[in-house]
């Protein structure tokens, strides 16, 4: 377990900063290229509410000044970037005058909770099943059933979500159709609320789990094959250790480590998939926030949600890259890795 070389650390930090900066810039530039004027959308919303708006030119000018879009682009950009650093994305135009950061802060725990929970479950199940597929002592059923079940793991979670929703929520009515908790319970650390949250979260989590465990199982299968013929496994067998002990302590422990780096590559897709699951389940997370913002053309919220999700992705990749050598001492950091 060595210290992280400075070159490597600098390399990773530069990549992290570049990723976030480039993503933030793209998100900022795109709406500026569009012919749609956010001030006119806001005015349109006022007109829709009141029937007609007097002095519309003045109001437009005032709205533009409020949104800061009457200033030169360069200043707008600097303001945006410095705001993004402290998660200040301005005010939501649809839920005016709620700050975007507050909306995101309300949605984030739901998304993170669902994500971490389903990720832990899939990582555990996937790796175990992948290992059992290779292990020569696992029952025949396992070797036939898992590859068959894995065929369905190529499906994005939104499709499995629809299917589970139809069977368990619409048909059997075992689980609620939408939402993150029942509207009849008061949010708080009460028993009713917690069970309601678990009850509502089960289907969204399940729809992610059933379609993602195969990714880990496939990776684990490949890694287990390489471990299978290793000398230390042969030695352990020759020593007469119990096969199950060899599987867990010798084979899985050595094979599982590179799986952690696979996580870094997969997280972007996982989050994107989850955003869509949240949208179909109307789960109170970032996905629903994003979908509502798209419907209302609420650009500050769309920007803020996209930025925060990209930031989470980039940070997770960064952390995995840094922590991995501590978990797996066989890997040495190299400056040009």
């Amino acid at each position: 377990m060595g210290r992280i070389p400075r070159d490597y650390l600098i390399n990773r930090i530069v990549t992290l900063v570049l990723t976030v900066l480039i993503a933030a810039t793209i998100i900022w530039i795109i709406p500026r290229l569009s012919p749609v004027d956010p001030a006119e959308i806001a005015l349109g919303r006022m007109a829709a509410g009141a029937g007609s708006v007097a002095n519309s030119e003045e109001i437009l000018a005032q709205l533009r000044a409020n949104m800061g879009i009457d200033q030169p682009l360069f200043i707008q950009y600097l303001k945006y970037i410095s705001g993004a650093l402290v998660f200040d994305f301005g005010l939501s135009t649809a839920a005016f005058p709620t700050p975007v950061s507050k909306l995101i802060l309300n949605a984030l725990p739901w998304t993170m909770g669902l994500m971490i929970l389903s990720l832990l479950i899939t990582f555990f199940i996937g790796n175990l099943l992948g290992a059992l597929m290779v292990w020569d002592r696992s029952p025949k059923l396992v070797k036939v059933a898992i590859p068959a079940a894995m065929v369905f793991t190529s499906i994005p979670p939104i499709l499995s979500g629809l299917l589970l929703m139809w069977i368990f929520a619409a048909k059997l009515q075992w689980f609620p159709l939408t939402g993150a908790y029942s509207i009849f319970v008061e949010p708080g650390w009460t028993w009713e609320f917690v069970t309601s949250v678990l009850h509502h979260g089960f289907l969204p989590a399940l729809s992610i789990v059933v379609v993602t465990f195969g990714f880990w199982a496939l990776g684990m299968r490949g890694l287990m094959i390489t471990v299978q013929g290793e000398d230390y496994v042969k030695l352990a067998e020759a020593k007469g250790l119990r096969p199950r002990y060899i599987l867990y302590r010798y084979m899985i422990r050595n094979a599982i480590l590179p799986q952690i780096t696979a996580f870094a590559l997969k997280i972007g897709l996982l989050i994107a998939g989850q955003v869509l699951v949240e949208r179909i389940f109307a789960y109170n997370g970032m996905g629903k926030l994003l979908y509502d913002a798209i419907l209302n053309q609420d650009f500050p919220v769309i920007q803020g949600v996209s930025y925060v999700i990209i930031l989470i992705t980039a940070l997770s990749v960064f952390l995995v890259d840094l922590l991995y050598p501590f978990i797996d001492p066989r890997i040495r950091h190299e400056a040009n890795a």
């Binding site: 795109i30 190529s154 499906i155 629809l162 929703m165 994107a272 949208r279 990209i310």
Partner: protein
Amino acid sequence: MSTANMTRAERRQARRIRRFDNPWLNPKLIWGAGLLLSIIFIGIVGRFIWDLDLVFTGSSPLKLPPLGFENLRGQLGVMAHPIGTDGGGRDMLAMIIIGAPNTLFVGLLASLIGMSIGIFLGFSAGFLGGRIDDTIRVSADVMITIPPLLILVVFQSAFGDVTLTMMALLIAGFVWQSPTRLIRAQVLSMKQSGYVQMAQLSGASTTHIMFREMMPNLVPYLFGSFIASVTTSIVTAVGLEVLGLGPQRIPTLGRTIYEAINAGALIQNLWWWWGIPTLLLGVIFIGLLLINLGLDEVSNPRLRRLS
């Protein structure tokens, strides 16, 4: 020994040995390709035998169930709309004949462009090294972390309606980085290998080494990477469509699901409305996965003995 007097196990063994002769003829690859071809087949044959004008809103009765089923209003499925109609009075069969190939088209076009960029950049980075390698490597590293869906959401909500080709082009901007990294890594390791050094020593030109010595060895990887990016592209396209973005007036499988969810098709038990596009997307993804697993067996012979 003729096939007739072999036991079942022996025949299976023989088949397995024959399969080793040509790794490209493994059952996963064939099944996967078959599934995708059947989608294309529906799209081509459907255009000749079915009236595609039924895809317009209001061209058919609303919410008719498929043949042999009954909807909540007690209507039975009719021959004129064998797999039912949606809430806007569109015939599901016509919608699928047009929509399913559209979905595949976006995936294939986006990854074709992405792959071309990836091959070009990957070879450049691996061969030229230095500054160019650094730039390409860092930009691939940066872009690989950014989830395409979110950038495209920002883009499409700012610009509104797009065409299918435009959406494919946009997605292509996010599927070049994995092939670039893969090809760069392969080129770097191949550069050290005996046969490439031999070719260099015997004075072969760079293009000869690239296309005659290295390319053939890269083919299974390239195919695998291509199929993976088709999957990513379709997932992204469907994601956009389900969020209500993407092409607004052209039928796609994702758009159909979006309309079904918004109309409350789940509660109204209109399962054919969202179920049929979901099933077809499932077939597409399973087909792609099988092809990918088959290609893995081609490029990694160690996996073959397990199947």
